[in-house]
Symmetry: C3
Subunit: 336 residues, 3 copies
Amino acid sequence: VYRLKELAALVGGKVVGDGETRISEAAPFEAASEGAITFAASDRLIAQVESSDASAIIVPSGDYASAKALLVVDQPKVAFAKILARLTQKPFIATGISELASIGRACEIAEAVSIHPFVRLADGVSIGSGVTLHPGVSIGKGCVVGEECTLHSNVVLYPGVRLGARVTIHAGTVLGSDGFGYVFDHNHQLKIPQTGRVEVGNDVEIGANCAIDRATFGATVVEDHVKIDNLVHIAHNCRIGANTVIVGCCGISGSVEIGRNCILAGQVGIADHIRVGDNVKILARAAVFKDVPSNSTISGTPARDHREELRAQAALRRLPELRRRLRSRGDEERDR
Amino acid sequence: VYRLKELAALVGGKVVGDGETRISEAAPFEAASEGAITFAASDRLIAQVESSDASAIIVPSGDYASAKALLVVDQPKVAFAKILARLTQKPFIATGISELASIGRACEIAEAVSIHPFVRLADGVSIGSGVTLHPGVSIGKGCVVGEECTLHSNVVLYPGVRLGARVTIHAGTVLGSDGFGYVFDHNHQLKIPQTGRVEVGNDVEIGANCAIDRATFGATVVEDHVKIDNLVHIAHNCRIGANTVIVGCCGISGSVEIGRNCILAGQVGIADHIRVGDNVKILARAAVFKDVPSNSTISGTPARDHREELRAQAALRRLPELRRRLRSRGDEERDR
Amino acid sequence: VYRLKELAALVGGKVVGDGETRISEAAPFEAASEGAITFAASDRLIAQVESSDASAIIVPSGDYASAKALLVVDQPKVAFAKILARLTQKPFIATGISELASIGRACEIAEAVSIHPFVRLADGVSIGSGVTLHPGVSIGKGCVVGEECTLHSNVVLYPGVRLGARVTIHAGTVLGSDGFGYVFDHNHQLKIPQTGRVEVGNDVEIGANCAIDRATFGATVVEDHVKIDNLVHIAHNCRIGANTVIVGCCGISGSVEIGRNCILAGQVGIADHIRVGDNVKILARAAVFKDVPSNSTISGTPARDHREELRAQAALRRLPELRRRLRSRGDEERDR
């Protein structure tokens, strides 16, 4: 339980009303009851502040005269996320290395770790302090797992994968599988050995059942603060720029470079060797077949500027009518 | 081995011919040989009944004068599925808890279970009677697994997941991974803690390598009798209505609500917060960006009424010709 | 370290310059330094041969007068792949069966195998010589794994799966999960028992987190030399012809037959019961709803001949302009 003024200090906000209000949980607006803090970001919700059952409400900057305890901040949703994290955080408890784990030779494992049953570390693995390896995690030779990483159940790191600090990987995800490289030799596809690795920066989160391939040479790179959803495929030699967000079911082909602060919505596909600039928004289901300049918003298959795509979609919707009109005019002309 | 009359009783059908015919297996029409029962649902196959090698044939209601033993029912394919199930069923044999499994504290495990090697149950897990947990299954704190569930190898349940009775989850599937929720705070994506859970009803089947995220608050819900194919992604806070069928490779964004008795064909995508009514058919590869009323059939990207989409596709196919016509008419006009 | 003349013998090429040149690694053109061999396949790179730091360069047939040691071959990329494989190959070392593996009854396991911790073999499994089973692999009853197969961590084979020789399966992939077969019985989907199996030929490679379902009856078949990328879904009763390549995120519905030497680019979808001929190219993101004759190249949704699709896309891009023209001409006509 926190007092509202403590939470205000945490997020750098201003209390309107009783700073001693006791807060035990954070909840969405409709579900917030006594003891809870919630947030009202839209005008619609701000208008309902008085009738909320919440004990305190986070609101955007403005003038308020309210019977409710309010917490005024610049970015209510950000403040809410921080307060929710504080209210629900569990301290890391190092349970050590399970007797049912299997540890290879020459591993360097920090003291404060939680390595669960049926985890396998191959030889020469390095595990930082504060790391949790859930059951069934399998880590290949020479991998490096930075401080405070969490690898959920059945995550697989192939040999040589390197994770920075505070990386979270959800269950079933595979890093470092062979890139899909073949060359046609007479009748068969001949495998091109995949000798590179995967490097992941700090503060990255990767969803469940993803696959990120190792590079043919060098490294497939996921930079700091990248966030990746479930069932995403990232092929060999890609580079994903810092802060970029990749939503579920995207497929990114080999040697694609994506800049910083991009957003790839769900089910996006990108062809091989494409360069995507910084601050690019690729809307859901777009298929990208050519380079994308920074600061653009694209959509469609093949993807193009989103406004162009909208115009084409609108024209397409009116196409049956256009054909009718053209046909009837043709008849008129013949009649003349 | 069953006698045909016994199988007729099982499915509520009527025997034409020898009810004592002995049936040892069920097979598709072309492959059925002596001892087998098969079914003929189409006129084409019904015409071939006499020349089949099967010992008995399930046919739809009608008048038959046949030298073959026939089993007449309302729904031949349903009857065939039931008979096939009866002929191939294996009784559940409880092998108990493997010595190579790892069981947490305060778990409640029914007597008649099969818990295979390398299964890990965290603390406070409840496992019902008749449950099979295949090798490598990992079940988080406080999960509830109902009676007669089967979790295939390497299935992962995060903490707090609840499964009803007779749920089958295929290998590698993950339930309860964090929802993909962030809010942009200055330069970085700040994680919104995902505090909810996943709730699955009775008689649900989920394919291999799927991912179903926990809710931010409350629950992501999969209702009774839902059937989900392989590699399907269901994001946080979705609700999938009873009896709905989701075919492979679909991606369903956050907070989507899908009604009862819907069919999502392969590779469908649904944008966040969309509401889909009951009895909706979403055809393969459709991308759904707006709410869908009950009883509709939609297709395309963006998805719309299927007949409209067909008209637009037809017009699109004729578009090059339309341009040619328009251009030549422009020439005529200039010539006048 | 090899001498260039030894590598020339390996790939059947001709040395121009010093055959005694010592080669310790293979690298891409830009990264190749002393001791490395690289390849120049394009005119652009061939023009830069003299300025490369590589100790030797593989070039296509032609006349060369060079201070560099050259290796002249018909297919430089093929020769490079073979030399890279030779330079990076690691001999198979049989580590035997880990004490932390769990082996069922009546298994036939060759002497020279590496079975890692937390591998589970059910009863009656057959494992050939030279096989590596990485941690967490789970193999069902009666499976057959041919010689020199490699199954990466957490691969799952359901009962009855058969793999030929030299098959590589990447981490998290599932073979033999139930086909997605139901029949609607009054209010619910009734499961059709899936009694078939999965058969994989020789020299097949399958990526990470794929799912290949068993057949309802008979077998889902992946023929020799097929190469499959990550996150691919192959439904029950499919047959994938020899040498065919399936790129990441494809979804192939039930009972699809694909011929030999086909290429399915990324995110392709194929509807059920479709027949695809030999030597077919299906371009990225295509959705295939009808049979495809041999030797065709198709694209689009719905997929059609690629040249037709290009024409339609071009017409679609000009559609807004077409509408404007039509509208202004209508005005002219009214004005006349």
